[in-house]
Each structure stands twice: as C-alpha cells, then as structure tokens.
C-alpha cells in the first residue's frame, strides 16, 4: 500500500543571482512501514526534497509536482490542515541536531510542545509522555529538565528523535541523523532508529551521503545527483551492484575494512560537483562520468528500468533493457 507518493516534484529556489533548481522532477513512492534511503553528495537536493514533503521550504522557493501523503495532496492543503499534518502525520529529524533544539528552552518542554500544539495531550499527560519518549530513546527521564547545551551530540540527536516520535507519526523523515556524530554514537543512533521504526511500523525516509549506512537501515535506496534521481531500487542491490556510474562511485567511496581490493587503493570520483545554477547539458553527470559517451552531453536522460524494481538514469542502462526504449518510466 503506497503511503507517500511523489510525482514529478521539483523545487526551485529564487535568489538574487537567479534561480536554483534544487530538485528536478523526482518521482518516488513509499509503502507504509517501509524505509527509504536517499543518498547523494552535498548539494544534490536531498534536504530540499525532505523539506518539500511538509512544505517547509523558505519563502522564495517554488514547489512543483504532486506530493500525496496517504492520498492527500500536500501541496493543495490549507495551512490549517497542513499544520495538523505536520508532526502528527510526518515528523522530521533535522540535519545537525545541535541547531534543531531551541537553546534556551528545556528539553522536556520542547518534546511536549507538538503534543500540546496538536491538542494530543494536556500538560500533565504530556509530561508523562515525555518521560516515556525519553526512555524509549534511552535517556534518563530527568534529562527532561536539561537544556540542550547540557547534552552531548548523540544525546541531542536522541532528543530530536524522541521529539519526532512524540505525536506517533506515521512517517519520520531523518535528514542525515548521524552525520557529525562519532562512529560509536552513530551506531547507537542508527540502531535506535532501526529498532523504533521496526517496532512501531513507522515509515522512514532517511537521508545520508553514506550509501553503506543507508543500505544497512533501509529497504529501498534512491540516489540523487544534481537534483535528479539517478538510481532507485532495493537497498542491497543498489549498494552492491549499482547500475549508475555515480552510484557505483558512491558505493566504492567507503571501503569495506578487510576487503583487499580497497587496501591502499582509495577510490573516488574525479571532478567537482556541479553548480546547480550552471548544470551541464544532457546528462548532468557526464563531465565526471568515467564511462561517458559522445551522446551524453546532448542526451535527455530519464529513469529507465534497470531490473526488477530498479531504475537508473544512465544511457548504458537503457541500452541493456529493451523495455526502456518504449520510454516507459515508473
């Protein structure tokens, strides 16, 4: 059953220097209780996409396409309805937890706030729920009285997760929940997320630039490049045998310790990430693509089927799958 459906979503920021097409025609769907990982390098539009889901983009950003949350079009919602949906239906764990908490308010209050705002609990009940949530994320209940700066980065990230869980949403969007965290803490947080999602049947969209992490947590993987989806499919498959050269490079960037192939042989991708305001023509990836061909700079790439439940936006893929020639996408 499809819970979330994105249809040709695009986001354009308008800034003084011109327009920034941050997300370009992304179509995706997510089943209830499933976990989707979105990967891509910095600036590829991951966070923008996440924010777009709840229309949290700053003024000056233009949002196009269709976002169906449980069949309801988010873009068409009235503000009142949208506010009701926010957090109660779908909550976000933001990138950079240290900034996501109001520095001068107690943690308990901040966790309880959505409960009160959405009228889900009265103040006393909310306190109980806060304690429950803190326990759930593995923090002592007395932490509710602490201020954010009294917590470590990992603890703060846990608070953010507790906050996201507060209204028992059906979808959690986690935007790089573990970047900037230490390996050990990162493992703790990931384990926590995995466990919570599994226990509560919550859908999860997790964003990261580390494919291996996503492959570990998610069922599905989507790889973005320059605002576009370049590959989408079951997590393990995409990670281990990526079809798009960019996905391949991403997957290879983090070596497996013990794998002799990567010993003393770091692999990476040449060239620089594209400037969204001056995107290369054709396949945006062609200037860095190790297997680029002559037609790439002019070719309109789209997501072509690349095996069972997989899609990839590379001309090599199209050639290998005859079905794609008919131009069928999703």
């Amino acid at each position: 059953m499809t819970f979330l459906e994105l249809d040709d979503v695009s986001v354009t920021y308008r800034i003084a220097a011109g327009e920034v097409p941050a997300v370009r025609g992304v179509s995706l769907s997510l089943d209830a209780g499933a976990a989707l990982g979105v990967a891509g390098e910095s600036g590829s539009g991951k966070s923008t996409l996440a924010m777009a889901l709840l229309r949290l983009l700053p003024r000056g950003a233009r949002l196009g396409g269709r976002i169906l949350l449980d069949g309801e079009d988010v873009l068409a919602m009235k503000w009142g309805r949208l506010r009701a949906v926010r957090w109660a239906e779908a909550s976000i764990v933001f990138q950079g937890a240290q900034h996501g908490l109001n520095p001068v308010r107690r943690i308990g209050d901040q966790i309880a706030e959505p409960l009160l705002v959405h009228g889900l609990a009265r103040p006393e009940a909310a306190r109980g729920r806060v304690a429950e949530l803190l326990e759930q994320v593995g923090l002592p209940t007395w932490r509710a009285r602490s201020y954010p700066h009294e917590l470590s980065g990992g603890q703060r990230q846990r608070v953010m997760i507790a906050m996201a869980l507060a209204c028992s949403p059906r979808l959690i969007i986690a935007d790089e929940p573990t970047t900037a965290l230490d390996v050990m803490v990162q493992a703790q947080v990931l384990t926590l997320i995995k466990q919570l999602v599994a226990e509560n049947g919550i859908s999860l969209i997790m964003i990261s630039h580390d494919l291996s992490v996503l492959a570990d947590v998610c069922d599905q993987l989507a790889v973005m490049y320059a605002g576009r989806l370049v590959e989408h499919g079951p997590a393990g498959e995409v990670f281990h045998e990526a079809r798009h050269p960019y996905s391949q490079a991403l997957a290879a960037a983090f070596p497996t310790v013990g794998d002799p192939a990567s010993r003393l042989a770091p692999r990476g991708l040449g060239g620089d990430p594209p400037d969204p305001m001056r995107l290369p023509s054709g396949c945006s990836f062609h200037p860095r693509c190790p297997v680029a061909r002559e037609e790439c700079p002019t070719l309109d790439v789209e997501l072509w089927p690349a095996g069972a439940g997989r899609r990839a936006a590379c001309v090599h893929v199209r050639e290998q799958s005859p079905a794609a020639t008919k131009g069928e996408t999703s």
């Binding site: 949290l56 976000i92 240290q98 602490s146 470590s152």
Partner: protein, 355 residues
C-alpha cells in the same frame, strides 16, 4: 549616539559557543553565585577606577580651584583661605587623594559651591525627576523598539520593515537637541494651525491640581521630553531586535518549530522572540549611559528639574564639586546597571548560566 548601531553582542556569544558539556547538572546555584560575585568584583574595580580617574581628571583643572569657584566674585583673602581649608586644598596631594577616596566611600560627594549644599542632597532632590523621565522614556522606547523590531524582523523586507527601519534611522540621525527644539516649537508653542497644547517647561504646573489631576498634569509635562528621548533612542532597540530576530529566524530550531505544526505567530512568540530578546534586554541596560546623555540635553531644553539639568548647570557655572559629584554618580550608576545587565543575562540565558 556613540556605538555602531547593531553591535549588541554581549560577551555571551562566545560563552555560548563552548557548549557540548556532558556533565551532570552541576549545582547551578553555586555557579551563579560565583558569577555574580565576579561581576560584582569587576564593578567594584570599575567604580574604583572611576573614583581615581575623577580625582586626577579634576586635578587637571587649570588655575586655583578656589578662585575658579569664586568665579570672579570678590572674596576677602580670609574667605579664600577658609574656602581652601574647607576643600582641603592646603594638604599634600596624597592626603587629598585619600581624603577624597574616603569621603566618596562615605557617600560624601562634597559641597556644591554654587548651591552651598552637599552634592548628594542636591542629587537626591533631582534624581526622582530624572528617573521618572528616563524610566518612562526607556519603557516606551524599549516596548516600541521591540515591538516594531519584531514585526520588522519577522517580515523582513516588507514595507513595514522598510518604513520602520527608515524612520528609526532618520530619528537616530537627528541630534537630540534639534528634535527637542522642533517638537517644542511645534507642539509646545504651536506653529501655524497646530496649537501649542503641550507644556514644555518643567515637570508640573505651578498650580498643579491634586490627585489624579496631578498625575495628568505631570503626564502632560512629560509628553514632549519623553517623546524626544524616545524618538532618539528607540531606533537602537528596534534595530537590535530586528537583527537578532533575523539571526534567530535563520536558526534550525525555528524550522523545527514550524515543522511541529506551530502557527506562524506561535513560532514567533514562543521561540524566535524570546530568544532574540536576550541580546536586546542586555542592550537596554548596556545603553543606559546613552539615555543619560540624552537626558542631559532633553532636560536642558524642557527645563526638566533632574540630574541632567543639574549636571549641565554644574558645567556651565562651572561648579566643579557638583560636576565631579554628578559625574561620579552617573557613571557609577551606569556601571551598576551594566553589571545588572550581565547578571540578568546570566539568569535569563541557560547557556551562560552553566558555562
């Protein structure tokens, strides 16, 4: 106006930066006490510097202080001698210094030559009027500034923002005395069709009624001076509030608050504004000295019987003991206010509290 407008960065920014402490809740009380003690120590040091500084600056005066005091009025040599002895000028410098310090510590600010009365008494008689004027002015300026600053910052770039920033900058650029004169001419005396309905002299009518009428009377007298003071000082509160709100708005937690489903005005009221208020509140205290400066001018123009007027008179006469006394008192109270600002900030901002 003395400082670049928006530089209201209290020392807190840095303190707040060094977060990430993981320790258990340390007894906050002790930390606060220690903090207050260190701030108080700093203030005491500052006040000591004021006392020492004042002594020496006022010894820089050219000529014989006693003759300066006499201002050319004829005094018999005995009178001069007496005066000199009374002021302790016959003693060696070092002894004078210790006397001065001792007296100041005993709140003895000397005797005004012009008024022949203890400076402290003179100040006591006038401080009420100044507190009334600056207090009211401050309250109005701060509320107006914060209110407008909040609106302007929240709707950054809107017409309200442009207009209110523009107007406040304009008023900020106006010399206080000039604005005071214009207001006095316009609303006090009346120009053309505008009748001069507001009094422009003093704090009350000579035959002020009692009770509520008296309050009204004082309010009427306060209207023009207060307006002048407010007009010139509120800009800084507006601008600081505006820029610190802008700063807060770009913080992630504001976005989180939105994502939580809070209404726009709830986000503003509950999150952005309280946080943005912190630097503004500190600024209110920090710029007390600025208000005092404004008060001198305003009191002069509107014959407001306050400290500023006393100080101005001391300068004009010149009555050096009075000048010295009022200067020390003004400076010390500003120092104390600043210390209070630090402490208030400390109490308000949990980040600093446990840092």
């Amino acid at each position: 106006m003395t400082t670049p407008l928006e530089s209201a960065e209290p020392a807190v920014a840095q303190a707040a930066g060094s977060s990430g402490s993981t320790g258990e809740d340390r007894p906050a009380g002790r930390g606060t006490l220690r903090y207050v003690a260190s701030k108080a120590g700093g203030a005491v040091l500052s006040i000591a510097m004021v006392i020492v500084g004042t002594f020496f600056v006022f010894r820089l005066l050219p000529g014989d202080p006693v003759r300066n005091l006499a201002q050319g009025r004829r005094m018999t040599p005995e009178q001069l001698d007496l005066e000199r002895r009374r002021l302790g000028l016959d003693k060696p410098m070092l002894e004078q210094f210790f006397d001065f310090v001792g007296q100041t510590l005993r709140f003895d600010l000397g005797t005004s030559y012009e008024y022949k009365r203890p400076v402290l008494d003179l100040i006591g008689e006038r401080i009420g009027a100044t507190l009334l004027l600056t207090g009211t002015g401050l309250v109005i300026a701060v509320s107006l500034g914060i209110w407008q600053g909040t609106r302007a910052g929240w709707r950054h770039g809107s017409r309200f923002d442009r207009v209110s920033t523009g107007v406040s900058l304009l008023l900020w650029s106006v010399p206080t005395f000039w604005l005071g004169l214009l207001l006095m001419m316009t609303f006090g005396v009346g120009i053309g069709p505008i009748p001069g309905i507001l009094p422009f002299r003093g704090i009350e009518s000579v035959d002020a009624p009692d009770g509520f009428g008296y309050l009204l009377d004082v309010a009427a007298h306060m209207a023009l001076p207060c307006l002048t003071l407010v007009a010139v000082v509120y800009a800084q509160y507006l601008l600081v509030m505006r820029s610190s709100l802008l700063e807060e708005v770009s913080q992630d937690y504001v976005n989180v608050a939105r994502a939580k489903g809070l209404r726009d005005d709830e986000v503003r009221r509950r999150h952005a504004v309280p946080n943005a208020l912190l630097p503004t509140v500190t600024l209110v205290f920090m710029r007390i000295g600025f208000i005092v400066g404004g008060a001198v001018t305003v009191e002069y123009i509107f014959t407001w019987p306050g400290l500023g007027q006393l100080f101005y008179e001391a300068i004009k006469v010149p009555d050096f003991t009075l000048m010295q006394g009022t200067f020390m008192l003004i400076t010390m109270s500003v120092i104390i206010m600043n210390t209070l600002a630090d402490v208030v900030y400390h109490v308000l901002d949990p980040r600093v509290r446990s840092a």
